[in-house]
């Protein structure tokens, strides 16, 4: 059959039936898994507009009665909702701004290290916390800050800055900063990796030319390195803006407790509580839709703005 095909005019290599069958069969397990675990769950978004009861099983998603925007009304009318939104946005906005600036600064500084061994030692050590789980890292943070012999209290008391130990985790006013700075320490090294890669791609001749013109280190950094990694910076900012409604559940759930709840309750932890603990599926789905819709709008807007301003965008 293949001989006959090869002589025919329409034959194109690799389009025969058996090749196609083999390719599709290689893709089959993945396809089934995507459909089952990514596409089917999308029907769960319907729950936001329905009065669904847990006992109704999976068919209940389709058969339970429509109630329109009832679930949304309950959520937006909830006293805690605004507070939760503020926490979500506050931790993310401040955290992202600090993170992006710190990462760019740190990447530039790493680039300035002359000694290669020292440079790779710095990278090795600062990358490491990224791989430690938030359960462990968050627990250490809580122990370091504990009012019961924690390191921070010990040091501050030895320096006689404070007289009595402060239970940082139990006072909600500290929570944002604890969340933001523990994340910064954990991720600072790792978040430089993309910038470092971008800096490595800068044409060395530019630096040599600048050297001839007598440019200082800071001038080279300011007028060569920074403009060259602009594209990477823009992409990181777009991602940060798009994920502004997504908190790091892994982190915040560990650090959260009933004393700091006022400042630590964010959308993601709330969805978990309302949905899986109180089994109010409709409300949890409604918050999820609200969150995703905002994220989508932000992603598109950020991308448009950045392609207008810098001609660099994601798509």
């Amino acid at each position: 059959m293949s001989k006959k095909n090869r002589s025919s005019k329409n034959f194109k290599f690799g389009y025969d039936k058996s090749t196609q069958f083999q390719l599709h069969s290689l893709m089959l397990p993945g396809t089934i898994l995507i459909i089952l675990f990514s596409i089917v769950p999308l029907f769960g978004l319907l729950l936001a507009f329905k009065a669904y009861k847990v006992t109704e099983g999976i068919m209940g998603v389709f058969t339970s009665p429509f109630i329109g925007f009832q679930n949304f009304k309950i959520i937006f009318g909830n006293y805690d909702f605004l507070n939760m939104l503020i926490n979500t946005l506050g931790i993310n906005l401040i955290g992202n701004v600090i993170n992006i600036f710190a990462a760019i600064f740190f990447a530039l500084m790493i680039n300035e290290i002359v000694n290669k061994r020292f440079k790779s030692a710095v990278q090795t050590i600062t990358y490491m916390p990224h791989f430690i789980s938030w359960v462990v890292f968050g627990s250490v943070v809580m122990i370091l800050l504990s009012g019961d012999g924690g390191a921070v209290n010990q040091i501050l008391m030895k320096l006689s800055i404070i007289k009595k130990p402060i239970v940082y985790m139990a006072e909600s006013k500290y929570f944002w900063w604890i969340a933001i700075f523990s994340n910064l320490i954990k991720e600072l090294g790792w978040s430089t990796i993309l910038y470092t890669a971008a800096i490595a791609g800068v044409d060395q001749e530019l630096y040599e030319a600048a050297d001839l013109d007598g440019a200082s280190r800071f001038q080279k950094m300011r007028y060569i390195t920074l403009p060259c990694i602009e594209g990477t910076i823009v992409i990181m900012i777009i991602f940060a803006v798009a994920s502004i409604m997504n908190n790091n559940f892994d982190q915040l759930f560990v650090l959260q407790n009933s004393f700091n709840l006022e400042r630590s309750e964010v959308i993601d932890t709330y969805i978990y509580k309302v949905g899986l603990k109180q089994l109010q599926f409709g409300m949890a789905a409604a918050i999820n839709i609200f969150k995703s819709a905002i994220a989508l709008v932000l992603l598109v807007t950020a991308n448009k703005v950045s392609s207008k301003l810098t001609n660099k965008g994601l798509f």
């Binding site: 290599f13 690799g14 389009y15 090749t19 196609q20 390719l23 599709h24 290689l26 893709m27 397990p29 396809t31 898994l33 995507i34 675990f37 990514s38 596409i39 089917v40 769950p41 999308l42 769960g44 978004l45 729950l47 099983g57 999976i58 740190f106 790493i110 290290i113 020292f118 050590i125 600062t126 490491m128 916390p129 791989f131 430690i132 789980s133 359960v135 462990v136 890292f137 968050g138 627990s139 250490v140 019961d148 012999g149 390191a151 010990q154 320490i185 990796i193 993309l194 890669a197 559940f249 892994d250 560990v254 407790n257 009933s258 004393f259 949905g275 899986l276 599926f281 789905a285 999820n288």
Partner: protein, 304 residues
């Protein structure tokens, strides 16, 4: 003029070095703090607070207690087996999908692309998964750790795809001319040539799976399915309540902690030993894994 410049340079270099050392100390200190305090006796901690720089009263009792605890060992085993199975199968399934996707002669690529992008940008949320897993009888079973994780996500497909495209087309075509099937090409040519990207993604999968606790938190309830991360979460939350601070999350765990505590150990030191136990495999793997980081991230950033 040159002299002034070189003096300035030297000055800058030493400030930079000092700054870098400071940052390294800050990042490494939490780990060091955990190590020394897991080896510190409980009496000393309750008397003088946690040790800051060095052990004051050295003891390995907490580690003994942790390593003799059957619950912790079973959690360790569940985490370990789950991680190994997921790395192998997920890498295979994802690479197979990506290979088909990377072939220019694949018919119906648009369909797969639509599926992939949908799965990447939309998310049904934990409630939908809860109902689905309940229906599939995955809820509260060991398989909930395996089956939903078998596909590594479309993002990984994009990374694989970029890599497979770099393999010369002629190599694959000549193998086909010689009568090799697509399966043979995939397993004998494509996979061996893609070792760096396989390792890179394998490492990220391994770390993600090892560290994950949400799957346990959301979709299981029986204690014998606890993973190590989840176990530490329970201990942490209950030690919080032990220090009059928090939720009533794990009464079971706090009773475990009290049975494990003795004169030399307390929930504080045991918590730390347990945390370190979960970090050890990562630290052992870290030097080997490190050379693949940049590769994995770079490829992703080019095409991602």
């Amino acid at each position: 003029m040159n002299k002034i410049k070189s003096k300035k340079q030297k000055h800058f270099n030493s400030v930079l070095g000092f700054f870098m050392i400071l940052i390294m100390i800050i990042t490494i200190y939490p780990v060091w703090f955990s190590i020394i305090n897991s080896l510190e006796s409980a009496q000393s901690i309750s008397k003088n607070g946690y040790a800051l720089l060095w052990c004051r009263e050295f003891t390995i009792e907490s580690w003994k207690a942790v390593l003799n605890n059957i619950n912790i060992l079973s959690a360790f085993f569940i985490t370990f087996s789950r991680t190994v199975i997921v790395i192998v199968l997920q890498t295979l399934v994802t690479a197979m999908f990506a290979y088909g996707f990377s072939r220019s002669n694949l018919r119906g690529k648009g369909f797969y692309k639509t599926l992939g992008l949908l799965s990447m940008y939309l998310n049904g949320g934990i409630i939908a998964y809860f109902i689905l897993f309940n229906t599939l009888k995955l809820y509260d079973s060991y398989w909930v750790y395996i089956i939903p994780c078998l596909f590594g996500g479309f993002y990984n497909v994009i990374i694989f795809n970029a890599n497979f495209k770099e393999i010369p087309e002629a190599l694959i075509e000549s193998a086909k001319m010689d009568g090799a099937s697509e399966y043979r090409i995939f397993f004998k040519i494509v996979m061996p040539l893609s070792k760096p990207v396989l390792s890179a993604l394998g490492i990220f999968t391994a770390v993600g799976t090892w560290n994950d606790y949400t799957q346990t938190l959301y979709y299981t309830k029986s204690p014998d399915l606890q993973t190590l991360s989840y176990y530490i979460l329970v201990i942490t939350k209950s030690s919080e309540s032990a220090s009059k601070l928090g939720e009533s999350m794990g009464m079971a765990a706090s009773s475990i902690l009290s049975t494990m505590s003795s004169n030399a150990t307390s929930y504080k030191t045991i918590e730390l030993a347990c945390m370190l136990l979960s970090v050890i495999p990562l630290i052992v793997m870290y030097p080997f894994a490190q050379k693949f980081f940049e590769k994995g991230v770079m490829v992703g950033s080019v095409k991602g």
